[in-house]
Symmetry: C2
Subunit: 253 residues, 2 copies
DNA sequence: TTGGTGGTCTTGTACCAACAACTTGATGCC
DNA sequence: GGCATCAAGTTGTTGGTACAAGACCACCAA
């Protein structure tokens, strides 16, 4: 049978069309693999290849023992990164808790799990903080941001150890202060450099965030500098693509 | 055999470890499926499941008839979006050709394929441009940005038709002007709103860009406003994750 | 030298079978 | 009623086979 496109491609195309036209609504259960076998007169393997294709595109999601379902897209959280902590319009909250207040406004319950460690910096972190990777130490605050019990993002902050030694930043608690936590200990960030990359999550990230298959992440790395251009902090945020929008406002002064 | 983790998980973990430890270098060919069958004493099906896992993580890439290879990451192009076209430091070029000049600086050859059409706007575009989706028309400039024959990004610009009627923007050519093309016809953008989302590419994007499997894309939507807060343009750029870094500088005035 | 031709190697597609693991709802016991 | 148990249904895992399709190389012929 000299067909050009493989059968499982055409089955996937057919199902994708049904999803895009709305004949299969978000959250709705698809036919079972066995039913699809009969409908298309193919083997179960071929059906599974087609379903895998849709899974990889993020269109459906399968659960063992339950069935396959059209994936419903979450209403994404919009995240405005174009404001300095020190002049945040969001009622005097730090950037770390801009998040908390934005979430709270939408009637949901934010929570953060914080873990603090002292570590030798990785090559990338050392470069961003202009530290010697052999001798310097960094204080690392690893946060898991949770909304209504569901993990939403990972946010890890790295500080040069000598700058924050003995301050509240070393407490494994959810610290917040008006104007930003760094400002509260006398470190004023006047400039950020943000770099955003896109990739598939690592296994560890995928587990911590409970990500469904085929969910890419944005990696947002923000380096904060004081007015002498000394780097004070690197914050790396892992934002799952299915639940976040990153926003910037760029304007002439 | 009451094992907790499936065999193909463990095989994938093993191979992933080899890649991460550098025992398998980027670009290097993996053992063939048949050899892996013998080495792990499993069926080809199981080997393929393990390889698929690594493919989905973006770690390897397979070619029919050639073999499987450790994926080498490209040196990503850094893309600075925090500058207005009108005050670009990059030798008086438009944003659209900030790209061209950055690429040219690194000794590679940039090229753009441009297609211009007039269309009724989608709901999203109409909302961004504050147009009536029933009656309004938009001029759409679809560009494929190519570096050394390889497609690198898609950049589609949408203009309200009444604003650009009869101007150079309606020519299906690679137009450029000092200070930006819009400025050259009297439309001055003083503010942008950028929204970045992350998702898997659609089939069409994947084909146009020749993306390997498991390559997510960043969708960068920039809406430009004049000083009366009237939207002048929406530009949607599709940036494959394996070859782009998005950068912003955020500073106090 | 050049070009085509064919054979071999490798991954891709498609089929079949069996059991495991998990979910869900029904059943029945206390 | 409440709770444990069971059975049926569904996807997950693993084994097998066969042929197709693309890549690559060696060989031969012009």
């Amino acid at each position: 049978m000299g067909e050009q496109t493989p059968r499982y491609h055409r089955i996937a195309d057919d199902l994708r069309g049904q999803i895009e036209r709305g004949e299969l609504a978000p959250g709705q259960q698809l036919l079972t693999e066995f039913e699809l076998m009969e409908q298309y007169a193919v083997s179960r393997n071929t059906v599974r290849l087609a379903l895998r294709r849709l899974t990889d595109e993020g269109l459906i999601i399968a659960g063992q023992g339950r069935g396959s379902f059209v994936r419903k897209q979450l209403t994404p959280a919009v995240w405005d990164w174009s404001v300095l902590e020190s002049r945040s319009r969001h009622r005097s909250d730090a950037n770390g808790d801009q998040w908390a207040s934005v979430v709270a406004e939408s009637g949901r319950e934010p929570r953060q799990e914080v873990k603090v460690t002292i570590r030798r910096p990785s090559a990338e972190i050392a470069r961003q903080l202009q530290l010697d990777p052999e001798t310097a130490l960094t204080v690392v605050r690893e946060r898991v941001r949770i909304v209504d019990q569901d993990p939403y993002a990972l946010a890890d902050s790295y500080f040069p150890e000598e700058l924050v030694r003995g301050t509240a930043l070393m407490l494994p608690e959810d610290v917040a202060a008006p104007g930003g936590v760094l400002a509260s200990i006398g470190l004023i960030q006047v400039r950020y450099q943000d770099e955003i990359t896109v990739r598939m999550p690592t296994r560890g990230e995928s587990e911590k965030l409970g990500l469904p298959a085929a969910t890419p992440v944005a990696v947002h790395m923000r380096t904060g500098y004081d007015k002498g251009d000394r780097p004070l902090r690197v914050m790396i945020t892992i934002l799952p693509g299915d639940r976040h929008v990153i926003r910037y406002d760029v304007s002439a002064e």
